[in-house]
Amino acid sequence: MPRGSVSIVVERCKACGFCVEFCPTKVLALSSAFNSKGYHPPHAVAPEKCSGCDLCGMYCPDFAIYGYRNDKNAPKEDEADAR
């Protein structure tokens, strides 16, 4: 089981690509599917790499994606600052 997962609300997504670009472990890619507004929402292409850091959630301007840790009790490590 990976350390983290992402949850995606595809209908809110406007495909800005922020989450894909700035995911530190490159979990995401925009899918070829459309949502009802015609945008390509992201999907997890490498879910096993997800750390649950929620940087995608911090970046997403449309509140359409967020990451979380699978083990809530795992010690929280300092997230590397996005640089």
Binding site: M1, S5, S7, V9, E11, R12, K14, A15, C16, G17, F18, E21, F22, Y39, D54, L55, G57, M58, Y59, C60, P61, D62, F63, Y66, Y68, N70, K72, E79, D81, A82, R83
Partner: protein, 304 residues
């Protein structure tokens, strides 16, 4: 992960979710700043019941309407005086002003400098997309030189404000600048500002792909984010006189000012109490039945 309940997006409780999706364009950074804002509120463990958010008019002016707090969408440029009244009438409220660069620094510029001068305990978050976006991309007081806007079809030559420099000079106790690329730093900075007493100000540079960038062939929102990543330099404590922005030059980010000055309401109460002694009655709001709370009969001369 099948049986484990999926936790909620941390931003969700802060949103009026029935109003989603919001009106902001694809690649606009305002929503990103809202994420940082909510993380900062979570971190600072603020009592959300006692938190009010006030916006002016414009794209960022819509933030108030999307946040599930006591929220006020006021008139163009006047978020700060509205917030001043709200705070003075009810000092236990934490009042955040969330608005855009045009709203806060052009039509509302006078109010901003005076609130900073008074050091009213307001937390001002200015999303700076360098342009009037909601009205269609006109020149703002923040638009850098040599930029095409709808009202500067041959390019801009009006000098732009250096916001941190202006706000520091006016008297703010906390001044920082970040971009929407710096999400963690921004959230941390907001939380830090909320802990401070007095007039705090954070400028957040944010993409405007639809109006600012498209007209200037600067790509989309993601290109702006990559640009921020590439040219930003964190310089905490940088002299604000040296952090002016240009069209394609370095973006100095960081916390520039963190100082102490007497905050307005406290100063007012202390001073009046000192002047009036026992005659001084601290301001109070209406009681639940809608009346003034009772007090002792005031006996003073009413002569002019």
């Amino acid at each position: 992960m099948s049986s484990v309940a999926i936790p909620q997006n941390p931003v969700e409780p802060f949103l009026r979710s029935e109003r989603m999706p919001h009106i902001w364009c694809p690649g606009c950074g305002i929503g990103t700043t809202v994420n940082c804002f909510t993380r900062a509120l979570l971190d600072s463990k603020a009592d959300l019941t006692k938190l009010a958010i006030v916006s002016g008019i414009g794209c960022t002016g819509r933030v108030a309407g999307y946040t599930n707090l006591d929220s006020f969408h006021t008139t163009h440029g006047r978020a700060i005086p509205f917030a001043t009244g709200l705070k003075l009438a009810n000092p236990e409220l934490n009042v955040v002003v969330y608005s855009g660069d045009g709203d806060l620094f052009a039509i509302g510029g006078n109010h901003l400098i005076h609130a900073a001068r008074r050091n009213v305990n307001l937390k001002v978050i200015c999303v700076n997309n360098l342009i009037y976006a909601m009205t269609g991309g006109q020149t703002a007081p923040t638009t850098p030189g040599d930029v095409i806007t709808s009202t500067a079809p041959y390019g801009t030559y009006d000098p732009a404000f250096n916001l941190p420099y202006l706000v520091e000079a006016a008297g703010a106790v906390y001044v920082a600048r970040w971009t929407t690329f710096h999400v963690r730093q921004l959230a941390k900075s907001m939380a830090e500002m909320f802990q401070k007493k007095g007039f705090g100000f954070i400028e957040v540079l944010s993409p405007c792909p639809t109006l600012y960038q498209r007209r200037n062939k600067m790509g989309d929102g993601l290109d702006a984010m990559k640009f921020y990543k590439q040219v930003s330099k964190i310089k905490h404590g940088a002299p604000t006189s040296e952090v002016a922005l240009s069209k394609s030059g370095e973006i100095v980010v960081g916390k520039f000012v963190d100082r102490e000055r007497p905050e307005y309401i406290g100063t007012m109460n202390t001073y009046l109490e000192q002047q009036l002694g026992e005659r001084y009655v601290e301001p109070h709001t209406l009681s639940d039945d809608g009346g003034c709370s009772g007090g002792e009969l005031e006996v003073i001369s009413c002569n002019r």
